[in-house]
Symmetry: C2
Subunit: 942 residues, 2 copies
């Protein structure tokens, strides 16, 4: 046999598909399901097979084919396809997915007629092999494997050597003249059956072996004698009898029935159910069962087993890639006894089989027009293919392979674009650990924000800031982060936390900043006060250097070399193709010239959301902002605003320059004013301190006034409170200052010959009259500045659509607006009645109970919130046909939501800089899919 | 002349239309505008008069008529109508409203052609009177008055005796042989012109008179000599010249032009603008100007002036009602020199004129088919009618008159129903001050919640509770109330506060309880610590008895007798008619058997919202509720719930009994759990105290756990947090307990032969799956209880529609729901993005700036929120045609919103008990209006 779990695992790991690219949201992504498959396949109804339940394959012909995944599952269809292509595959049969459905409909049992029919197909297999199932002299052994339409974790593992019992064992011994081999297979089968079919813990079998080895004072399984193995099998069978209450089934037919039914039951294992729910795989598909004659890679030096890829799945290079072991089974590798050899060595060991393997796999790649991940066994110089499937790959490999295959004319550009998952691109946008560098991984956590970084360990935010001022690189290590750590997170190269999940503060903020973060690293214990953290007995102290890899969740000692992202070359070419295909524009959410420049490098076509309040938080601005809030007269307020004006002007100038020639959407002040004031508890503490000190009377008075204002600004539900344009209407001078800063910045640049396209956006509009009010200020200031600077300033005035009422009355608002930008974060909050800050309390439960299918803050709720978006676009365009529309909520970076935006006819989506490439590709894919659907529809019409 | 301002004021006051019935919301209601008028009239476009601007009347014929209010204004149309009916009216002419619009379009001036045309029509008047305008020998004097389509405070007052100057004065003296009379009129004219046209403060004229009287050591104006009056006129003219910078205009033509233009300008006086905005009167209507020949009621004992009503405007009794003064002008009454006589006395003084007046006013009432409020003058035994208009009346009178007129076959039931303003009914549902009782009013505040009550003054809520336990009646007096005072407000008979408006805590809570409240009574200063309040120098101490009248806002010393509301008799009959006319059902929001019984007495047809959480706040329940919240295991939680069950069962039993045979909609737990826990500050204080005391270690531990839970339950935006069905899904055992209590209560009553119709309502549903989840519990418990009690329990399961998404996906939700109940409070909050608790910070500004036309928490926002309601009804009924729908937000008691609900096809509205009669009448009016509109449409089609 030939399953090399470790090798396969390694290959998979190379794709970064482990914990590393775990979901950004609370749910696993569609790992392992090819996008295209999902797009096209999930739509089909399950076909009826008209009473045919068993699909035989062997002798160069299969009853099924590669297109019958619905009925045969992925593995069964692959086997059938290979047989039909004339590829040597051990014969066998597939029990269709329909049988699984019948099994469930029939209360977890099958009508007797199925067993009779199965007997007939097994007889056919016996004839083909020339051996009898349960025949003591010449026994047929089989493998039993699950195989659903989509590969799925949690489904039943393989059972090998099924058919063995005390009688058939003798036949194997006689046939192979190798009793040790026979007994070894036997004990493996019994434990596998006990574990997989009867649900007995693996460890309990392992314990028996360990005891035996101790007893016999030997180290390796291979040193066990035949008698040892015999005894082990007996003990296994005793264990099974005591645990399951039934003796170990010796009748091969009973073994087969039980294994088959176990496969069916595994379809509804909790892990499989969770996975299906998260991946939108219908739960009524059912799984197929593959029963195949055994072949053995461990029959001596002319036998071998291996696994490989038709191209390198790590970097995409077109090379024959894989590993094999002579005279071996997968389990040997698991035990760590021998190291597999590179597959090229197979050419020397078994040149003929190697050549055949190369030809077959090349044929398969050409046939499937994609990289194949294959498994094979060579039994006494004869090659058998056991599996072929689309090979998983890293983002880097995915791009290279896609581009290469287009250049090889194997696939079209459209196909190339459809083969890379947009989310994967994130891996390519950050510095990576040099794959050739030796690393010492000391701990693993969640891959909370991709990229790699090295730096001195610091345990406090202000320490990170202090070191940054000396240009020293740091990694901020904390049990958890909170908003007070923001400055430290900005200053540090990366963040490591011991607690918190993918949506913890550290994770969310780091992703927003595009900084590497390993979160929830429960291997480490952080002692902030002592300035050290521990992993087991290892203690890492203040200022020691570590490296974190946010893409994999690994923490390493010392500085590990990293490679900067390569945005040109194949990546660049690939993204050009994406841009050619897509029709929706991609902008970015950026509040600083740096972010703007970065996003532009990533392909952003403008800024869709520039949050002016972020500029208010700067150390040299906040005092003026607070002075403005605490002002008791309009004059005082104006004085504070006058001090803020130059800062805002400089901010906008920087951003306009970074985005020269592209539109920049600037939102006027949005958050409630209390966000700019210190926390009440902190001020109360200051008052206590000041009161204790003599001569601080004035300070106490000042602080008490501050408390009054904090109380006065306190709101029960700030989300629905005095914010957005409500502020600009209450304090028109704030809007006026901001707009003045925008137009002054624009005018000065235009005077210098630059192209500047400001789009001023009024937030939180729910009534037409609100926009009219703010627009009056904007146009008035625009006229003033045009006169003052004597230049034409092209500008637009638009509004956020983030209050349900705005969407409902879009036809009233549109005449006043040059554009609508959907703030889907707030629109989701209000339409669904979820406070994003609080929903954590029940959202997890809602997802678990299936009350919600998705986290609506990650993927737009198309039915509810989306309905309002569509309504607003339709109503708006009904009165203003060329109304510009876009989305600037975080959904703008979510591929599925981008698809919705495309269909809703939006002009652009706007997302954080690091999601821009993802959005570009997602937008291309949705456009391609629409073209394909269109073609299908056209064909149908004909 | 004949305007008796005081008498008119008195009559108006009797209608309770002063501060007393001031708006429930922040805006004044449509005071003085007849509903019917508004309903029918405001819809018409303003007609063009085709170039005719002056409408002459006199000599038994008028160029206009009573139907031409658009063009002639209300007063002008009334005068024309009287002339056409052959009623003696001094001749004159009306300048049409169109001239006002031209005046504004023409930048506050009129083309010269208008003056030419006016001259022609004045000439016609001169001929009719046989006198010349400005003629020194035989001068024509006129009155000038404003008259818009709808009467409106803030418009220009009357100017009398226009045309007087030094020359014409001589003519008057010669004609009347009464120089004192002439000079008195002259000084009145000059001051009136100075005040009304030129805007000089009245007091400045008054000061000159006062000085003169002092100088001459006389008391009454009447004692002023002719020389005194001459001198006064001179001083007046000097004052005018110095203030206006121009000499007093002596040319009667200039006087007339200036007076006319002043009328036009008064259309846009700030008060008029505010009133129009609040009353939905279009601002482009403009006002007419009425110019009429003067008649004099002060020409000796054969002259008189008076005012009256065709029926008693206070109680509606059919009697000739009014007052008059012989040889008098209105001003004499203002000066308080003489007391007017009851109008019946006129029969003795001038029997012929009296008979004529009775005949004319009877004719007018019959003609207008409504009570008339008229003004007349008798000049030398000749009767002149100066005005007739619909008489304002109290609620009591409105009902009586409407019922009487139906019985007199003067009007139809429909007309009767349309003539009472629904809001007015509130006056009739509470105890009233006995109108015959002598009262000593010591202060006036806002009429925050209607009704009258007497009791001992208490200054603290617990004092009110303590006295209530001894069955002593109290009035709670506070500067302001807050939620801590609730128990005291329940215990007291009424509430008086010094601060806070119509939507202050005291006002809102008192209205909800149906308890009288005078709020914002700024005349008083409350010293809670000293237990006394002061009004000027008067000090009212603890336990002294006062009476408050929440219907008028008056505060009285001592106990004043009150009259209980009379809900049968004419009121009962009238409400029966309303019920016959309306098609929408009226339910009530009630959480206690008392409220349910009261609402039923007021005509509620069931309960539309019973809030179960209100039952959780009871003293004997709260500890169990808190135990449930603090439970760390499900067993602990269940134990606490088991203790709550009997309470809930008893609650429901009481409510079901009070509503026997009628549907009772019960909402499962809605508010976030933290609302049931004490305030954090309070617990922190307790901890401090416990820590200071020895041996309280356990207590400290317990309290610290409580703090943890409070922190843990804290939410940023509780409105959008863990509440509603989200709680029932997180803690299914809570829903289970509540539903069990409902079905046990129902089953026990059904077993006793009672009819019980529970309708269980799941709050805050946004997803179909949420309702499915909760419905599963409800139906399961229903089955269990049906089996246990062996009775059939008829019940419905429905949902609140209060989250925008629920409305948007109503077609998904409807299949699971027997009914939808629109929670328009929360739906308004989420659709408009307004937190009700916080919106006060900008809502006032929004209303002032005209950004919002109405407070959306008082009157449903039909365009936005209403759109969702309509959508939900349509989508829901598309999949379930007989889906029951209702509204249970506070809008259910707002007449305008009820109209919307009717049009949207809802089955019922639900409102607080005291608003049930209001809702019944409002629903009837909307149905009648719809019928009338239907008839009009049908007529048009023919």
């Amino acid at each position: 046999m030939a399953q090399k779990k470790v090798t396969v695992k390694k290959a998979r790991k190379a794709t970064g598909k482990s914990k590393a690219v775990a979901p950004k949201a609370m749910k696993p992504r569609k790992i392992g399901v090819q996008l295209k498959e999902l797009l096209v396949e999930t739509k089909k109804p399950i076909p009826s097979t008209g009473g045919k339940y068993f699909y035989y394959f062997g002798g160069g012909k299969a009853e099924g084919s590669g297109t019958m995944k619905d009925i045969l599952g992925g593995k069964g269809a692959g086997l059938a396809e290979m047989i039909n292509l004339g590829i040597p595959v051990p014969p066998g049969f597939t029990i269709s997915t329909e049988v699984c459905r019948i099994y469930y409909d029939n209360k977890l049992s099958l009508p007797k007629s199925f067993d009779r029919e199965m007997k007939l197909v097994v007889e056919r297999l016996e004839k083909a092999i020339g051996a009898g199932f349960g025949d003591a002299k010449n026994p047929l052994l089989v493998s039993v494997r699950s195989g659903a339409k989509f590969s799925m974790p949690g489904m039943m593992d393989t059972i090998l050597n099924l058919g063995l019992n005390e009688e058939t064992l003798k036949g194997i011994i006689a046939k192979t003249d190798n009793p040790r081999f026979a007994y070894d297979n036997y004990r493996r089968f019994v434990s596998m059956f006990g574990n997989v079919v009867l649900g007995i813990d693996k460890d309990q079998f392992e314990e028996i072996i360990t005891k035996k080895k101790k007893q016999r004072s030997i180290k390796h399984d291979a040193s066990l004698s035949i008698d040892d193995l015999k005894d082990i099998v007996k003990q296994f069978q005793k264990l099974i009898a005591s645990k399951s209450g039934e003796p170990f089934p010796t009748d091969p037919w009973v073994q087969l029935q039980m294994a088959r039914d176990a496969v069916f039951r595994s379809w509804n294992s909790p892990r499989a159910i969770t996975y299906r729910a998260a991946s939108n795989i219908p739960s009524d598909l059912g799984t197929a069962v593959n029963v195949q004659a055994m072949v053995f890679g461990n029959m001596g030096d002319t036998s071998a087993t291996g696994v490989g890829f038709t191209r390198n799945p790590s970097n995409g290079v077109k090379e024959f890639y894989g590993e094999f072991l002579v005279n071996a089974q997968g389990e040997d590798v698991v035990a760590g006894v021998r190291t597999p050899q590179p597959i090229t060595e197979l050419g020397k060991a078994m040149p003929e089989a190697y050549k055949q393997l190369k030809d077959i796999t090349a044929k398969l790649e050409k046939h499937y027009r994609d990289v194949q991940d294959f498994e094979f066994t060579i039994q006494e110089n004869k090659l058998y293919m056991l599996q072929t499937r689309t090979g998983k790959r890293t983002a880097e490999a995915a791009i290279k392979i896609a581009v290469d295959m287009v250049q090889e004319k194997l696939i079209t550009k459209d196909e190339a674009l459809m083969r890379v998952q947009p989310e994967q691109l994130d891996q390519l946008l950050h510095p990576r650990i040099d794959p050739h560098a030796p690393v010492e991984v000391i701990a693993r956590g969640l891959s909370a924000s991709p990229g790699a970084a090295s730096g001195k360990v610091v345990f406090h935010a202000d320490e990170a800031v202090r070191l940054a001022e000396r240009s020293e690189k740091t990694i901020l290590v904390r049990t958890e982060t909170n908003p007070d750590d923001i400055a430290g997170m900005i200053a540090a190269e990366g963040v490591l936390t011991a607690r918190g999940g993918m949506t913890s503060h550290a994770a969310v903020v780091a992703r927003g900043m595009g900084k590497p973060c390993v979160a929830g690293c429960e291997d480490i214990r952080v002692y902030e006060a002592r300035r050290q953290f521990a992993v087991g007995t290892l203690v890492v102290k203040d200022k020691e250097i570590i490296t974190i890899n946010g893409t994999t969740g690994e923490v390493m000692l010392g500085e590990v070399p990293t490679i900067d992202p390569e945005l040109s070359g194949e990546f660049g070419l690939f993204m050009t193709w994406a841009d050619e295909s897509r029709s929706i524009g991609i902008r970015t959410n950026a509040d600083t010239p740096n972010d703007a420049a970065l996003a532009r490098k990533f392909g952003a076509q403008g800024i869709g959301l520039c949050r002016t309040e972020h500029m208010f938080f700067g150390k040299n601005r906040l005092p003026h902002v607070q002075a403005m809030i605490l002002a008791t007269t309009q004059d005082e307020r104006q004085a504070a605003l006058d001090k803020l004006l130059p800062f805002q002007k400089a901010d906008f100038k920087g951003i306009f320059e970074a985005m020269e020639g592209l539109p920049v959407t600037i939102r006027t002040l949005d958050p409630p004013l209390h966000e700019f004031l210190p926390k009440k508890e902190d001020v109360l503490k200051q008052i206590q301190e000041a009161e204790a000190e003599p001569g601080k009377g004035d300070e106490v008075v000042r602080l008490k006034k501050l408390i009054d204002r904090i109380d006065n600004l306190h709101e029960q539900n700030p989300m629905l409170g005095h914010r957005g344009c409500r502020l600009g209407i209450s304090y028109p001078e704030i809007t006026e200052m901001q707009v003045k800063a925008i137009f002054m910045a624009a005018a000065e640049l235009i005077r210098d010959g630059k192209r500047v396209l400001p789009e001023i956006m009024v937030p939180l509009v729910g009534q037409r009259t609100e926009l009219v009010n703010q627009k009056e200020i904007i146009t008035r200031v625009a006229e003033q500045m045009t006169r003052k600077y004597k230049v034409e300033i092209p500008y637009l005035v638009g509004t956020m659509i983030e209050i349900p009422r705005a969407a409902l009355t879009a036809d009233e608002i549109a005449p006043e607006a040059d554009f609508f930008s959907f703030g889907t974060n707030d629109l989701t909050q209000m339409t669904m009645g979820f406070s994003r800050d609080d929903a954590g309390k029940f959202l997890r439960l809602y997802l678990d109970k299936g009350i919600l299918a998705r986290d609506p803050f990650v993927t737009l709720d198309q039915v509810g919130v989306g309905q309002l978006v569509k309504m607003a676009v339709e109503k708006g365009r009904a009165v203003k046909p060329h109304l510009k529309t876009g989305i600037c909520g975080e959904h703008g970076g979510d591929p599925e939501s981008i698809g919705f935006c495309h269909r809703a006819g939006l002009n652009y989506v706007s997302c954080s800089p690091f999601r821009v490439p993802i959005a570009r590709l997602a937008a291309a894919q949705i456009a391609i899919r629409e073209r394909l659907d269109g073609k299908i529809d056209k064909t149908k019409k004909k």
